[in-house]
């Protein structure tokens, strides 16, 4: 039996995996701050003979597309959109602070029962000290352009708002980020990103998912047709086999 069909099979699997990554991107067109996944296929050339004709395809998610998504005004004072390339730092879920930091552009913040500031996914946003930010009860919370969390006492409107903490904004410049299995961006192998003192946030806005639907639909058709072409290769291999067995039968 020819090995051609196995090479074609590996690429069929790669296109199906790619289609799944595309489906995931399309499914997340409405998730705030979502970063599209980039799927890449590379040849895993087998060096077993004199010619390198066999190169099964191996697909993988190469990371996230970090292009900025569109910002949409919501009017909610606790919704944040990060300007530029900075990221918001969050406490990794589970492990009570020992699990390290995860990064996200999702800034739909809210106040949990405990008074901790968390985003729509339930991640506690980190302050300058590296711990979660706890806001005082009954105060009106607003967030400044540099991420400063201000609390003003509604009973004393004349008093200057009190600074609670400053949200940790980090720069990803020069550091590779990868999406973990828990869907959050983190530094592979542990580690934290350096703070970005120049980062700015816009309160009252949310950043949408950066999935470009038109582009992703083209990728979908691309993956679909590639799958069909590879199925055709397998069919061609069968035709070739049948032709040679017919030749044998005529003898």
């Amino acid at each position: 039996m020819d090995r051609l069909i196995y090479t074609a099979l590996s690429s069929m699997n790669a296109s199906m995996d790619r289609q799944r990554a595309v489906a995931n991107n399309l499914a997340n067109t409405s998730t705030p701050g979502f970063r599209a996944e980039v799927f890449a296929v590379k040849a895993a050339t087998l060096r077993d003979g004199s010619i390198e004709a066999r190169a099964p395809a191996r697909g993988s998610v190469r990371g996230a597309d970090m292009v900025e998504g569109r910002t949409r005004p919501t009017g909610q004072p606790l919704d944040l959109a990060v300007q530029g390339e900075a990221l918001l730092a969050f406490q990794a879920p589970g492990g009570g602070g020992q699990a390290g930091e995860v990064y996200s552009r999702r800034g739909d913040l809210r106040i949990a029962t405990s008074g901790v500031l968390e985003n729509g996914e339930g991640l506690a946003v980190l302050g300058q000290g590296g711990g979660p930010i706890t806001v005082p009860r009954g105060f009106v919370i607003s967030i400044g352009e540099d991420g400063t969390v201000l609390a003003s006492d509604p009973a004393a409107p004349q008093a200057a708002p009190e600074v609670v903490d400053q949200i940790k904004l980090v720069s990803r410049e020069g550091t590779a980020l990868a999406k973990g299995i828990d869907t959050f961006l983190k530094v592979p192998g542990g580690g934290v990103l350096p703070p970005d003192p120049t980062a700015r946030v816009t309160s009252g806005s949310l950043e949408d998912s950066n999935v470009e639907t038109a582009e992703t639909l083209v990728q979908m058709i691309d993956a679909q047709r590639a799958f069909e072409q590879r199925a055709k290769i397998i069919k061609t291999a069968r035709d070739l086999d049948e032709a040679s067995s017919r030749l044998m039968a005529h003898r």
């Binding site: 069929m12 699997n13 296109s15 199906m16 995996d17 289609q19 799944r20 990554a21 595309v22 489906a23 995931n24 991107n25 399309l26 499914a27 997340n28 067109t29 409405s30 998730t31 705030p32 996944e37 697909g59 993988s60 998610v61 190469r62 990371g63 009017g75 909610q76 739909d108 809210r110 106040i111 949990a112 029962t113 008074g115 729509g120 996914e121 009860r137 009954g138 105060f139 009106v140 509604p154 009973a155 990868a178 999406k179 973990g180 299995i181 828990d182 869907t183 592979p188 639907t213 992703t216 639909l217 979908m220 058709i221 679909q224 799958f227 069909e228 199925a231 055709k232 397998i234 069919k235």
Partner: protein
Amino acid sequence: MPNSALHVARTGLEAQDARMRVIANNLANIGTTGFKRDRADFATLAYQEQRVAGQQSTNQTAYAVGLNLGTGVAVVGTSRIDTQGTLNQTGNTFDLALDGDGYFQVELPPGGQIAFTRAGNFTISPQGNLITGQGFAVTPPIQIPQGSQNVTISPDGTVSAMQPGQTAPVQLGQLQVANFANAAGLRQIGDNFLVETGASGPAELGIAGQFGRGQIRQGMLEGSNVNVVEELVEMIEAQRAYEINSKMVSAVDEMLRNANQTL
């Protein structure tokens, strides 16, 4: 699971469907007194790691990148957007609106569970108690004696009225306003009522206009804070996103059909 792209697209369809339901509910309640619009919160589902980064690819080498494939999206919850609705003048004595944060307290029968509402379209029971349209008593109870005239409710909730044969108004009680550490955590139980949950924290009762509580406006009602244009834009967005996901389903379907026919 070779065809799980189908299931990923299915999660997208389900999530957009849930979002559409939230939008439909917002639009349906555009005329509901004190209604607050909801926003569907989307979140990615967990990933499936098919090949772990750092795993051995051969004896000497390891994979530099893993094959993490997402499993789609889900609506993890809805957040109530607690912005102020527009105040509409009605002129009715017992129509009360809260200008700012806070909730009126109502005792639900049976058992007297306390619920909270921003719909202040109250009336008077035959016994003279301040009640909601459904007949549930406002707490602390306000008793308005028969024959009272010129009932006034001040911005801080003080209820006073002129009694027959008297020249000065008599104070009848004071309404209290509840607020919460996290009002977004209140649970909707229908009929404009909300109940406290572990996420909202306990109600902090106090006088209207103090410590962040809004003032009471007599003769006004708070309209819903639903913005039609915003909802319609969201509706179009949800509809298109639904279509895109259904396109994905048919694309995978075609791939599998093609494999079936060709192979």
